[in-house]
Amino acid sequence: VKLFARLRSWLKWIVKRARLETAMEAELRFHIESIAEDLVRSGVPQPEALRRARIQFGGIESHKDAIRASLGLRFWDQLWMDLRYGVRMLAKGPAFTAIALLSLALGIGGNTAIFTLMNQVMLRNLPVRNPEQLVAFGDSEFGGIAGGIDLGALGGYFPWDFTRSLQTDPGPFQGVAAYCSFSNKVSIRPLVASGNVNASSPALLAPANLVSGNYFSVLDAQPLLGRTILPSDDATPGSGAVTVLSYHFWQQSLSSDPSILGKSITINGTPFEVVGVMPQGFLGIKQELEPTDLWTPISMQTVVLQQPSMLTPHSGLYFLHLFARLSPRAASNKAELARSQNWLNQQIRNGIREREGGTMSADRQLEISRARPLAYISVWFKDCPLFPEFALSPSARLRPSAAVTGPPASPFPVTRRRPRRTGTRSSTASLGSILRPLEYRLSQDVPSTMPTARIARRWPSSTRRSLATFSQKATRSGSLSSSTSTASKGHGRLLVSPATPNPGILAMLTRLE
């Protein structure tokens, strides 16, 4: 009760200070006059009485000070005076004030920016079960994805049949899942009740990502509504027209319709059943400039990408990224991790041999089996300062660029900003590779042209020719796609992906030739 009374009293004194000061003065004067009156009554003449009363009582100001001190007001008074003094001094030196304010603003702004980046790359963990077990397969020691930000050279690309075989037999991993290396924009129309397309409603453009049937289960990402995509959806190319929506798309374009499940939308003119909605935090595995809004099975590739089927054995189209969940032992034990890595290397060797078929010379065979390591497995961020293989092998940089690797990524971008990679190879140390996304952020339109240049540099003329052919095709088919702007955006990446034999493997093969 006392504390409450005190707070109220302080508040009163702060708010109604002037009035209370006047009342205090009046009260003290009344006291002096009362003394004087008593003196007059006892026979002292009026002026003399007042003088004596004043002397007896003492100075009014000193009484006031004592009262203020007893109330604990001195602290507030002094604080207020200091503040006023500070403001006066600042007003006196506008140049100094401007510089001080500017320094503060820049300092705070800079810190916020760096922290935002660090928070995503180093501090944030994936909102999935045991994120430290998740790894990505990539083609460079410093590349990959951390905190949803692409850190190094473009991640490893793999052809469909190879990813399929790893999905069915994940070896020492708990699971291996694939997703298309880019999300392309698709044209979407909701279906009206009758099941027909509502032709009067304008089509929406949204980025869709192809994912393998076990994509969500390997991540262990749970849907907000309905279910995620299942292996059965992705079983047969051409079937499995289902889609899982992002929270953002569901909310913005479908009015958060709670009964959306089971309804259909058309993607590039083909009806897809909506089977689930992901929670707000889930934006896919990699941060894109525009976050993915729909996930569909890889089996629906022809519809979603509007490209001829890439889902044939030996298609030579490298357009999928791979990530995996390590066994709990491998996540904590380096020897076990090395075992997983060796297994992956072996799978890649087998894949190459299979592709080359009987045409391989004995020398080539030998070289393939000698080249090592073919893959780096990178562990998600939280677990290690950077990527464990650096710590293990300082000579990582000297390895053949053939290595297929990639670091891990944190799927759930916190913000919708996302730096793009241009794919320059990094020879800087770990901190450098973390900071690099900043510089990309500054030149976000570079990437779409970059990959081509890189391909041209890295591949022999025969490959370059076939790339050129493909790129013409892609350009032509790009004009068919629903959105020209996306077509051109996605297209730069498309060039890399489908036409590009896995940069790692291919680069190695060509070098071996």
Partner: protein, 113 residues
Amino acid sequence: VGKRIDLLQGTLDMLILKAVSLGPLHGYGVLLRIRQVSGEQLEIQQGSLYPALYRLEHQGLIASECGESDNNRKAKFYRLTAAGRRQLHSETERWNRMASLIASILPTTLEEV
């Protein structure tokens, strides 16, 4: 007028509460009442009266309101609040215990120990 004694440390608050408990008073009135009730024996330092009044009001033990003095002048009158009454009660009890304790100790002689 006999020799006046100064207040013991910490007793001013209690005396003010007591004085005010007998009926609302202005500051000067508090001074007069304590002097009068004590048979002109107790003199309150003028300098400590108002700080004590304001402190007690700040603590919510007394409340103030405007009123008219005997000579028909406006003055600030203090009265006891419910919290002040409880405080006065407990202070009185504590004082009585302390006083009787001290009183029982002081006459002690060596033989009694």
